[in-house]
């Protein structure tokens, strides 16, 4: 019977993998992943003004604003709004009319004229002239720099001594003290980082869950609708058949995860080859930078136990999902029925996905903490909460134990339903039949 089990597992995998649709789907997935990783390079490949340098011509009628403004532009870029090199501040000695003429003549974008004038009420007044609309980043940086220039001038004019002025202008020192010994201050900034990084890891989990459920549903229904099930079950026990479906589906998920990882690695390799990150705020590099930040922040030590626990919980959850999908598939008589029945499974998975996304926003939510221990959604939710420090190892262990309990119940009672369901071809009195099967 063991060799028949191995054979059934092999044939299930072969039936799934040796199809042109598996190849087509994987080619598409690979292309999408590689494209997503190299999205900035693809966008720039089709052309566009992505490496624009902004030149700011300053007409300083106040004779005191230029230096401060130039320094404030540098400060603004240092805050991460844009790259410092993208801004060039030049003092313009000619009239505003000349400057306007120059702007009109210049073909390239990114030329701005800032005209500072004295103003009795607001210390200085500035006129920003451009050929066309200002982009959002430029406007924010200019606004910040002009505002800071005005504050600096007003402070100086109020007769504040130079040392005091220097002190006012310097950044405030902030030291953090966290009384809870379990919390490292470095982890405090993790919320934002995790909310960006985690969807990247849980999205494949969600996708793989769908693959898993659909594979089992399609196979069981295919065998049922063709009545091949009668021949199969007359040669192997329903228990062996059920086990073969569960193992094959999980092996398929493992293979697909490896393939997803390989596509990601290839995508990164291509990125390295073509020297990506052409756009200043390249989203993928930003994510990589964040990931580096996470590792630096001392979470690296945490990963030693978070990663194995997460993997274990994910494997157990996949097993639970496959058992549930197998039981539900055995009860249906065609693939359309199964598609309807799999909707609740997808919704459960989606709830876990959204709760994981919201975990950072609703920090300390008891509802989310409790949900993190509920089987099926715990695999998505618990690791993210553990990483964010919102739950501890105990809650993670509870999530693991509860998933094992669900697996045990699905094996014990689900198998009874499976045995009765796979040879049932009528939906009449279905629940009665299943209830009877549970009682037997």
């Amino acid at each position: 019977m063991k060799s028949k089990l191995n054979y059934l597992i092999g044939i299930s995998l072969k039936r799934k993998i040796k199809t042109k649709w598996f190849v087509v789907a994987n080619v598409l997935i690979a292309l999408v992943i590689m494209a997503a990783i190299n999205l900035d390079s693809i966008i720039t490949l089709f052309g566009g003004d992505f490496n624009k340098k902004t030149t700011i011509y300053v007409i300083d009628e106040t004779n005191k604003s230029y230096e401060l403004f130039k320094s404030n532009i540098e400060n603004a870029t240092l805050l991460g709004m844009d790259k410092k090199d993208n801004y060039k501040v030049i003092k313009y000695d000619k009239s505003i009319e000349d400057a306007e003429k120059k702007l009109k003549e210049k073909k390239e974008k990114g030329n701005i004229v800032v005209n500072f004038k004295d103003d009795k009420e607001t210390t200085i007044k500035s006129i920003i002239t451009t050929k066309s609309f200002l982009d959002k980043t430029d406007y924010t940086i200019l606004n910040s720099a002009i505002q800071n220039t005005k504050v600096a001038l007003a402070t100086m004019e109020s007769g504040v001594p130079n040392e005091v002025f220097a002190s006012i202008n310097s950044s405030a020192k902030i030291e953090r003290v966290v009384l809870d010994k379990d919390k490292k201050s470095a982890e405090e900034s993790m919320d934002m980082i995790m909310s960006t990084i985690f969807p990247i890891f849980i999205l494949p989990f969600f996708m793989l869950t769908l693959f898993l459920v659909q594979m089992i549903g399609a196979e069981v229904n295919d065998e049922k609708t063709t009545r091949g099930m009668e021949i199969i079950i007359s040669n192997v026990s329903p228990k062996t058949h059920f086990a073969s479906k569960v193992v094959a589906a999980n092996l398929f998920v493992l293979l697909q995860s490896i393939l997803l990882f390989v596509y990601g690695v290839i995508g990164l390799f291509i990125r390295k080859l073509i020297g990506g990150n052409n756009i200043a705020n390249g989203s993928f590099d930003a994510v990589l930078d964040m990931a580096k930040e996470v590792l630096k922040s001392g979470v690296g030590e945490k990963l030693i136990y978070i990663v194995p626990l997460t993997l274990l919980l994910m494997i157990l959850t996949f097993i639970a999902y496959s058992l549930l999908a197998g039981v539900l598939a055995s009860m249906t008589t065609n693939i359309e029925d199964f598609q309807q029945l799999q909707t609740p499974i997808i919704i459960i998975s989606l709830i876990g996905y959204y709760l994981a996304m919201m975990a950072g926003v609703f920090e300390g939510s008891i509802f989310i903490k409790v949900a993190a221990m509920i089987p099926f959604i715990s695999a998505i939710l618990a690791p993210s909460l553990l990483m964010l420090g919102q739950i501890g190892i105990i809650e993670m262990v509870i999530a693991l134990v509860l998933t094992i309990v669900v697996i045990y119940l699905l094996v014990k009672y689900g198998l009874k339903i499976y045995k009765a369901g796979i040879l049932n071809y009528s939906s009449t009195g279905l629940w009665k039949k299943m209830y009877k099967a549970l009682k037997d």
């Binding site: 019977m1 054979y7 059934l8 039936r15 091949g228 009668e230 021949i231 007359s234 040669n235 040879l423």
Partner: protein, 299 residues
């Protein structure tokens, strides 16, 4: 020997099979007949070990039906039980392996059977691409691939043309001669009459007729007399023991209550002119079936 002993099967409160007993010996073909819903499929499923009897027992060569025994059973279901997305070779390897055969043996036997049924060119074709008749051939091949000791054939001639029916008949007969036990179920009574020396008719899960066909026919009292000549239907109907007279193009079919009334009919006919035929024939299985089951099997 297959022994079905006092087997009863309940689905909830519904009794699908009621105290059914029969035996099938090696090299014999046993006919199991019944209208739709009579309990045949449930019986087959119990023999295949797919269902447990509520009471009674089923043994094959003295062994209770389990997964070791089912490797020796071939089953051709009434509905198609082929995985249509597979090729013929994949399908046969799939079912053959589940029957405990190794790939080499499967391939050898498959080539032999494909040749026999004239479908060698379909070996690597997907089953869904085959015609209904060819699909039935493949289904039959999967059922006999392992040279089963017990072969259950539920409507084996479904979708076949007369030429292929002959091919199947030949193969079934050969298997029987080689010692396989065969259970045969068909709506076509002429096929049952041709193969089965022994049969059982079940209705509502109960056996209503059982035994050797020869004895069944002999014991079935109603007979038919075929007469050709200048006779009148109305006169025949007046005779004692005549149940019905069917007037055909060139002869009369006279149904009589029993053998005892043959003479009285003969007495009437012998004085008539141009009598060229007077034959007493055994009743067909179809007639017996209709009589016993109380409704047409073809319904």
């Amino acid at each position: 020997m297959l022994k079905v002993e006092n087997v009863t099967k309940y689905y909830g409160d519904f009794k699908a099979v009621d105290n059914l007993s029969f035996t099938v010996e090696e090299g014999k073909i046993f006919g199991l007949l019944g209208v739709n819903g009579a309990g045949k499929t449930t019986t087959f499923r119990m023999i295949m070990g797919l269902l447990e009897p509520s009471s009674g027992k089923i043994t094959l060569n003295g062994k209770h039906i389990n997964y070791d025994v089912t490797d020796d059973i071939g089953f051709l279901t009434e509905e198609r039980s082929l995985m249509t997305k597979m090729t013929v070779l994949e399908q046969c390897e799939f079912y053959g392996t589940l029957k405990g055969m190794d790939k080499k043996d499967i391939n050898k036997r498959l080539d032999e059977l494909l040749e026999k049924f004239g479908v060698t060119e379909y070996k690597n074709k997907k089953i869904k691409e085959l015609s209904k008749g060819n699909q039935q051939k493949i289904q039959f091949i999967t059922a006999i691939l392992n040279n089963p000791k017990l072969l259950i054939l539920d409507e084996p001639f479904s979708g076949l043309d007369p030429f292929n029916v002959e091919l199947f008949k030949k193969e079934i007969t050969e298997m029987s001669e080689k010692g396989s036990m065969i259970i045969f179920s068909s709506h076509r009574m002429e096929h049952v009459e041709l193969f089965c020396k022994k049969l059982a008719v079940i209705t509502k899960g109960k056996v209503v007729l059982e035994g050797y066909l020869k004895d069944i026919k002999k014991n079935f009292r109603k007979k038919t007399i075929l007469i050709k000549g200048d006779i009148k239907k109305a006169d025949l109907l007046k005779l004692d023991g005549v149940l019905d007279v069917i007037e055909k193009i060139d002869e009369f079919e006279v149904k009589i209550k029993s053998d005892e009334y043959v003479n009285s009919v003969f007495e009437y006919v012998k004085n008539k002119k141009n009598i060229t035929k007077f034959v007493v024939v055994e009743p067909s299985l179809n007639e017996i079936f209709i009589e016993k089951v109380g409704e047409s099997y073809e319904k």
